[in-house]
Amino acid sequence: MIENLHLWYIPLLPFVGFLINGILGRRLPKWLVTIAALLAPLAAFVCVLNAVQSIYFHLGSPYAPRGILGYGINGYVPLPHIETCPLPWISIPALHVDFSFVLDQLSLVMLLVVTGVGFLIHVYSVGYMKDDEGYARYFSYLNLFLFFMTVLVLAGNALVMFIGWEGVGLASYLLIGFYFSKKSAADAGKKAFIVNRIGDFGFLVAMFLLAANFGTLTFTEIAAKLGMDPGWNGGVVTVIALCLMLGAAGKSAQLPLYIWLPDAMEGPTPVSALIHAATMVTAGVYMVARTHVLFDHSPFALSVVAIIGAATAIFAATIALVQNDIKRVLAYSTISQLGYMFLGCGVAAYSAAIFHLMTHAFFKALLFLAAGSVIHGLGGEQDLRKMGGLWKKLPVTFAVTTVGVLAIAGIYPFAGFFSKDAILYAAFLQGPNGKVLYAVGLLTALLTSFYMFRLWYLAFMGTSRSEDVHAHESPVSMLGPLVILALLSICGGWIGMERFGAFLAPTVGARVAEAISWRLLIPGTQFSISLEVLLSIVAVLIAIEGWLIADRFYRRKPTRPAQWAAAMPGGYKLLANKYFVDELYGATVVKPLLGFSRIILGWAVDVGIVSGAAWLLGGLAMFTGAILQRWQSGNLRSYAAWLTAGAAAVLIFLLVPWTTVWPASMELVWKVAGH
């Protein structure tokens, strides 16, 4: 008898919060809204901790489990722990889909991140959104997001995951367009939704192919079927994996579908932190890790993932170099870091990618929330050029931002160092092509370090570049989560890749572990260092180099950025305008599509065919009605006459022996005609 962990509590609790605030929010007093909004994620987090505790208890205790925790065979809950709704969802001969949740090491890590960071951001939002009119609406959306995100994470099959997948897209849309009276915000929401649809199309096609070829959508069954038959290679598996990657690229803002994420910064800043940095955008990475068996059976798809990841990482990092909006810098850095995660997935280092996902959730949520604190403190100012010298006025924000910057830059011993290093190391081991990926990753690390320290110098160092700034530090409800996230950004990586990888190994495989253990003898000494340590040292040196360059550019020689921009006007323009990708898409996709819609679909199909058919039918009915209405005169005797005529016609039809009369009459006609 395997114990029931009641996994469905975890999504249900935020959903209850959503219902309370969504339906009653406007009528409830504010403190009650706050309590409902905070209790929902907190309770979900506690549920997750309860699950962790039960599993830890079973895995780690020498004595027999007892009491409410129940027990499994030999006293532990075997992971993956699957809970299925007793009623089947889809049950046809070719396909059986249950509403099932799965708890394994992978979903456990994600759940902890989603509910934990989610709770912190809820707390932060209480301070940040304090004076907003849509306070209850905001929290209901945020709870709705947590509901769908936990469904996505817990999903035991692709269809349940798709519910969460679409749901977080909906929540994201609602929150990006939260200030819907602002046109740019409404447009950004639409853009995010539409671009995500393209990715969702890939996910859907992948599901259809899975159902057609494997007859199941359950992750464990797909893995089992693939494992049983080594013949599954290339072919349809590659197509499925690439379609999944298309979905992941849409959700996780990878090339070529990343364009929605920078615009998504129109939403409130805590939303950017929770949805567009820490959790939702990592759903693509999670999905790839969840379906990794498919990718493992298709080297081609894997290399596509790696190339997309590396290309996105460096592409977004170069754009981030010259952005002046503090949130846009962070948005592009998020895209770049997600590229790292896909690079990790692409070299089959899924646990490294998930590790980076986790640390990134900590430090990027921290950075976004700190940026929110800055924006809050400056009364809505987001332009880096108008900041400066804030370290005195916002000491706590400054301190936590410093931690975040050090973490994302990959300075030892902050969280980002460990995870980024694990990905780069895994890439380096991946044959000759891996060296190229490694080099791209390293260059990205340099750029990352540079633009993050650029942000740091511009916002906090030097002197204020704007007179009318009366900065004030944020309230405790905002600073508390910041400090906790800062601690996590420092310590989050200390668990170490070996332990983290070993923990995740049952779910995502352990291909990272097959490290080459060659050691480099340092010339002239007795000491040797392993490859991993050597690469780590290189990575840290690169990060420090980025810092030094930023230091030279933005502290010691503040005129230099302008000089460089003037020296390379073309390059600067290209970067400042984000490679004109939006313009390119506008010209090649959006405009033709709009034109096609307007002329073909609008005029020809809608006005011409659809509307024309409606008018034709209506006209026909009116025409026949106009004729037939003369019949219905209301005159009783005319009705009676018609009735009699009809009865007579029926009688004649029945009584006349047509078979004999008809030929005879025809003959008569023939003769009369003169033959």
Binding site: G634, L636, R637
Partner: protein, 107 residues
């Protein structure tokens, strides 16, 4: 003459009478203007049909025809009750019973 009298009336005579009654009813229904006359024409048609029923019932020694006649008479009675009530209501409202003037589905 005796022989003629002792013979039964042939079937066709009954049927001809029945058809004549029915035709009279139809013609009356079509040409008369007074609502009560129209109503009486309907009764005439019904009774023409009744005569056919009885004739065939007698001819084939089947009681079903007789039973049907009872049904028809019952329905005719009910119809007469309802119909006359309507006619009275119409007359009260319109002060006329000319069917050509009664061409609306309301009083």
């Amino acid at each position: 003459m005796n022989a003629l009298l002792s013979q039964e009336v042939p079937l066709s005579w009954y049927l001809l009478l029945s058809a004549a009654l029915f035709a009279l009813g139809v013609v009356g229904f079509l040409i008369k203007r007074n609502l009560i006359t129209v109503f009486m024409s309907i009764e005439l048609m019904l009774n023409g049909v009744n005569l056919s029923f009885v004739t065939f019932a007698h001819q084939w020694h089947a009681v079903k025809g007789q039973i049907f006649v009872f049904f028809v008479m019952m329905v005719a009675a009910a119809e007469a009750a309802v119909g006359l009530a309507i006619i009275i209501a119409v007359f009260r409202a319109r002060a006329t019973l000319a069917v050509d003037r009664i061409d609306l589905m309301k009083l």
